[in-house]
Symmetry: C2
Subunit: 356 residues, 2 copies
């Protein structure tokens, strides 16, 4: 295969540790499947603030734009939490999403059978849970005008939530397409009984739905969805929603599985390009100790292979290797029932590579 | 005691059925504790749309304004779901909150020991869960300007989220006061890493906190809160948050308990006046069958007695009666493990009255 350029932005906390294992896995697939990657590394997040004075340096952005895909570790930490807005890691995250046009965030939440006990939900409720949250990522209240002003009752703050038809169409269509490759069920989540943006959302969904007669559509109000995720998680297939609701619901869905150290995500735009990262954060409390769980990042590579490169065979071998290592009883500390028997980050990476 | 005026707006679906049982309980407390109530009934919601052409008729509003407290059943149903905005039950709900100045919604989520199994969460995780969500109810994106406009990329919809210092102060202060009467822990939930209204919110909380040195305060991001409610529900005491986040999180918290037919709520303004209603909806699918669970509405009466009237003894007797009826094994269909042995709405009301 021709050489694919991967922009690696390891970021902060455990980011560099988990990314290193993911790269190890990618190199193994070069060997096994004749793939070829060129890795370029860039600064991003807190470390970029410290070294370059900005969370998203121009050269990092240029590197990402020139790449075929981006592999991201994690960003942030208490060190930068009280910085002014321009000097915060999150600002880099929002900036890179916008600059790369990544309007869609895809978050699978699937139960690994052997980790079912890690969830706070009863195993019989979780049984068969396998859903994907498709979150709009570059619109809504995240990116609308925000400001302070003097109101009739003193100082007030304002955020603006805006969606246009085009923004809703492209994400909804993508969600329908994904549903079509799965169990053919789509839940569109909004708050159409209160919000104008949600009414627009629902209209657009209604307009597109006839193009996908094979997909069963339900409209779910966001408050109800927060409940139904707890009550009947297995009944969801694909959930599509706007940015802010997606932020909340995708984290709730992730926590359902009980093993957030296992969950991967993809952020996509038009075309095949994508940014791939674990759902978990930078976990500064355990950074540098070699105990972080690299599986979420490794599974993000599998997602990259499928969604950006179409390397399905190699993706499958990664996913199978992860499953077999878990089945053999190996666990990092976060998912171990007996911590004393847990394996470290590198050892987990090695085990997965060996199982491929 | 002097006679208190209760405005009763039974509403739609199962509303009238559950409200009837709550009134039965109130009458019993008149006997037992020498209380005195005068009940006035008004149309509200779907039934008001059908009979008066508006979800919140002026005479209903006037009746509520003249009352000492409002008892609300439930509103809404598929019949009115596709109506234009002014003719929808929710519009009445938002209208009554605003017109009565009910800026605070209080939602206790407590586990009844004998109903622990109804939850989809593991009993050991739920153990000790007893939290209150304090939701801001008359501000934020619910009440800001909403409109359509032609943008650069075609039609767009806009919602505006606005908070002023005063609105945040009063709800936050109320939450601190409630925390002080309980386990003295307050979680303030926002999205300060993205929203300007959340940054204002967090500033105000920080400014008020020193007045409550006995209350332990944590700031939690909304996405993280959606996760932590699942992971460590028992660690929360009082959660305070803005309108939209509160809508989502209070429903998530309610579902944690697994028995939404048991949960009461209060909406308060300045002073003692309040509107009390069950958390559950109008359940049109079971309306008129005499099988709805009246306990949430009955417990809303207990909440009214405590928060509006200071009738603590009578409130306690209601709460104790509910507990003893449950302990004796009586269940309505929604919380029964064996539906064939369940009791109906009226029978449940009678059992509670008898146990008082
Ligand atoms: C860090 C924050 C800005 C970000 C978001 O809200 O989008 C994060 O929560 C996420 O979900 O990736
Ligand atoms: C019906 C709807 C407008 C309402 C809300 O969102 O406030 C409801 O969900 C609630 O929580 O009382």
């Amino acid at each position: 295969a021709d050489t694919k350029k991967i922009a690696v932005i390891a970021g902060d906390g455990i980011g560099p540790e988990v990314v290193a294992e993911a790269i190890k896995v990618m190199k193994k697939t070069e060997e096994l499947y004749g793939l070829s990657f060129e890795f370029e590394h860039g600064l991003f997040g807190g470390i970029a603030i410290d070294e370059k004075g900005t969370p998203l340096p121009q050269e990092t952005l240029d590197m990402c734009k020139a790449a075929d895909a981006v592999l991201l570790g994690a960003v942030g930490g208490p060190k930068w939490d009280n910085n002014p807005k321009e000097l915060r890691p999150e600002t880099g995250l929002l900036g890179i999403r916008k600059a790369l046009g990544l309007f869609s965030n895809i978050r699978p939440a699937k139960i690994f059978d052997c980790l079912k006990d890690a969830s706070t939900l009863k195993p019989e409720v979780l049984e068969g849970t396998d859903l994907i949250v498709v979150r709009e990522l570059t619109g809504g209240i995240y990116f609308g005008d925000k400001f302070r002003r003097e109101g009739a009752n003193g100082e007030e703050a304002v955020d603006t939530c805006v969606y246009n038809v085009h923004e809703v169409e492209r994400i909804v269509r993508q969600a329908f397409e994904i549903a079509r490759t799965r169990r053919k069920k789509l839940a569109s989540v909004d708050k159409a009984n209160v919000l104008e943006t949600s009414r627009l959302w629902r209209e657009v969904v209604g307009r597109i739905a006839p193009e996908y007669p094979d997909v069963e559509l339900e409209h779910v109000l966001v408050d109800n969805c927060a409940m139904q995720l707890l009550r009947r998680p297995a009944s969801f297939d694909v959930i599509v929603t706007e940015n802010m609701f997606g932020d909340i619901l995708s984290d709730e869905a992730a926590m359902l599985t009980g093993s957030i150290g296992m969950l991967s995500s993809a952020s996509l735009g038009e075309g095949a390009f994508g940014l791939y990262e674990p759902v978990h954060g930078s976990a500064p409390d355990i950074a540098g100790q070699g105990i972080a769980n690299p599986i979420a990042t490794i599974l993000s590579v599998a997602l990259m292979y499928r969604l950006t490169f179409g390397y399905h065979e190699a993706a499958q071998s990664i996913e199978d290797a992860v499953a077999s290592v878990l089945d053999a009883g190996h666990r990092t500390a976060d998912i171990a029932t007996d911590r004393s028997k847990s394996v470290g980050t590198q050892q987990m990476g090695d085990l997965i590579v060996a199982a491929m």
